[in-house]
Symmetry: C3
Subunit: 321 residues, 3 copies
């Protein structure tokens, strides 16, 4: 489905909408390109002129300072000009259609849309209808996908585990509502890990989740045994009072990651979380801040991975940094 | 009135507040300068260093993401630094007077104010009281003027019609409340078109509108006959429930531009609209997206025209691009 | 207390949190560095590449367009990249702790936090817990300190009076709630003025104010006699209805600066105010706009002083401009 949309005829990345349809070679190319940017942050001057004169529009229909910030920093460090448009509070309040908003920005000769939207498929829709010279990056759409988050997670895993073959990975928490989990599962399988387990109460697992290539489990003690990587998901507090979940305390007791439960995993297992973390809800502070946590490295890697995806979609395939 | 204010003694553009008082030669100079910037958007690097080190303040007392965006892009492509100040939500909430806000920004050595204000005359007031080294551009003041919009419209007309002499232009819709229409009428007459018609119900025409050099008409069939250019105005929906107008459907039936009515104009007539458009209210989608529509070209031209006005008022008269 | 925190072992400025613990030599170094930037505003291109590639985060937990603007301009003129984060409206709304917000931004390899917070000590707290490569600048914390404001005031005083020795300075108004006054008193005493007087009703003076090295007075006629510098504080209107104060008119009559009262000071006394001014509340318009007022020069100097503090804390000690 998305394959013809996000790739050029010669198989290069044109948009970045979803992990679906991207093969191991392309995902590895993204990770390798990100590698070349990862060292840059240590430099005295953290900028390269790869996208100088390009205009990147952060088109946020859903407010997310955190995600916007990482894209803004990535764009700035590539010397692009950034235009932040918070649609929630502005433009379309005059009743303009999404397509007319896009057409107008295109006419201003912008080069890229970074799209965040509460509705699944919004970034795809924009990519389908935008001008050929514009690239679209999905910065999270509804419960569908958050592919740049998944790629920074893959980068972090590779950084610590060197290769994906043979790895056992557990994803824990609200799989049902998580666009992050959906993208991670696709990426992990495409990159060839041995096993992806999803651990959650039945109410927080999608129906037919096995069809995504995962092993569903309801018990942490069973699920964490001998894994190399543990990915904790953020518990959306707004779901807490719903029928999905009993209480924060109850959830933490069953599915929170504590030092005791962490011992079930391999001794060199790494602990990941997309942030922002709820301390004492899905993860104990001692684990989040502990020696096996790579949560802040994920944040750092997020800049490099987004720089890679931006340059690749814009046709500048990671020129020498 | 505004002539001595917006021109230097030698007749060069110092502020850009209104079309009033600007003669054909100066308006033509703006269009010619914009021409030199219009090609730039195709370049790999869309920036020129003409205003490097200059600080341009977007001083918006009225929220308008759309207009702010075009000025921000124009300034960025001239390599200026842009400071966005949304007064509605900030600064003067501490009760500071407009003049004190201006004095403070002047003291920070900024170089230009781009002013949007709900009150007619606000940009003039600021230009009258600001320091001599600062230029003021009117980005829309009350129901008075929106001169950069008018100039991008003139640019678009010239692009398609080559010259203004002999042209018949119809402006359709809510003339009474439109700062855009007021500025367009001045510009069209200064540039020497043959005829400007304004088409609207009586309740949406200003009294003594003929004194502005236009022919008022109440019927589209009469008004559109043989025109070269049709400019549709946006219908402010907030006026809909007032005494001015019957209903959306009724308005569209009488004054909306359809393919059938468009046939009354010359076969090569162009259709313009300042945006954002209300599809099915003042214009049919098939016309807005049709072959005679130049609506998106207007948006593109808006960047070039604003770059021209910024460099001219700052004394850099369109150096080689 | 703050001495070991804001200085390196070799005594150089690492953070800028408070005037406390900074000696005359260091304060003078700040003023001298600012001097080298003060001339820049006159240049055609108002930028130097001293902080190119650095990322400066305006971390505002309290909204202040005015203060944010001065830091943004200072950073931009040093060629740094600026990230504005308004925490009030965003990020921590998801319930993330302050420390987690800081850790995340650190992980994005930012270089400086400019912190504004309603709670006294917030900037210190962040400086205590942030990564070693990051500098923190206090842009106002609760009723504690506003040290960059104090330094721009010192710069303005030196500009007019050449030296601090022998000067008599009066600070007038709501001393009790003013972080500005607290920082000014420290700076004036560290720089060796002859006398600092604080003039206010008893309800607006802190207990034991004498221990700060000032002479408390309740009467303007006594307090202004023969002073070289008068610093008026802004009256926070929100305190007006409290028990602290009678009425605006009453306050102006007793503690407002009029031309008549100004005559009590030395003939060449200068009048200062941190802004925004309440005309007719703490200061008469004729005085604010009069020949002895240096209020707008304070604003101009604010940019240069903040550029100096930014470059000094970042280890670029005022390289040639």
């Amino acid at each position: 489905m998305s394959l013809p949309l996000q790739l050029t005829k010669s198989g290069q990345l044109k948009h970045f909408l979803s992990i679906d349809g991207l093969d191991q070679a392309l995902l590895t190319e993204i990770l390798d390109t990100a590698e070349s940017f990862a060292g840059m942050s240590e430099h005295q001057v953290k900028k390269v002129p790869l996208l100088r004169g390009k205009t990147i529009v952060n088109l946020f229909f859903e407010n997310s300072t955190r995600t916007r910030t990482t894209f803004e920093l990535a764009a700035t460090r590539l010397s692009a000009d950034v235009l932040n448009i918070n649609i929630a509070t502005s433009a379309t309040s005059k009743g303009e259609s999404l397509l007319d908003t896009i057409r107008n920005l295109e006419a201003m000769h912008v080069d890229m849309f970074v799209v965040r939207h509460a509705i699944s498929g919004a970034a795809h829709f924009i990519a389908q209808h935008t001008a050929p010279h514009i690239s679209v990056i999905n910065a999270g759409d509804g419960q569908h996908a958050h592919p740049t988050q998944a790629m920074l997670d893959m980068f972090t895993i590779r950084q610590h585990k060197k290769q994906f073959a043979g790895l056992k990975v557990a994803i824990v928490g609200d799989i049902l509502h998580s666009r992050v989990a959906r993208s991670q599962i696709r990426a992990l399988n495409a990159l060839g890990v041995a096993e992806v387990r999803v651990i959650a109460p039945k109410t927080l697992l999608p129906a037919y989740v096995e069809s995504m290539g995962v092993i569903p489990l309801h018990d942490m003690h069973e699920g964490l045994r001998d894994v190399d990587v543990i990915i904790m998901l953020r518990l959306q507090k707004e779901r807490m009072n719903s029928a999905f979940l009993p209480s924060e305390g109850e959830f933490f007791r069953c599915y929170g990651l504590t030092e005791a439960k962490l011992k079930l995993a391999k001794p060199d297992a790494i602990v990941m979380h997309p942030g922002p973390i709820n301390r004492g809800v899905e993860i104990a502070s001692s684990v989040a801040d502990g020696p096996q946590s790579v949560i802040l490295q994920q944040v750092s890697n997020g800049i490099a991975v987004r720089m890679a995806i931006m340059t690749m979609t814009m046709g500048s395939h990671g020129a020498s940094v």
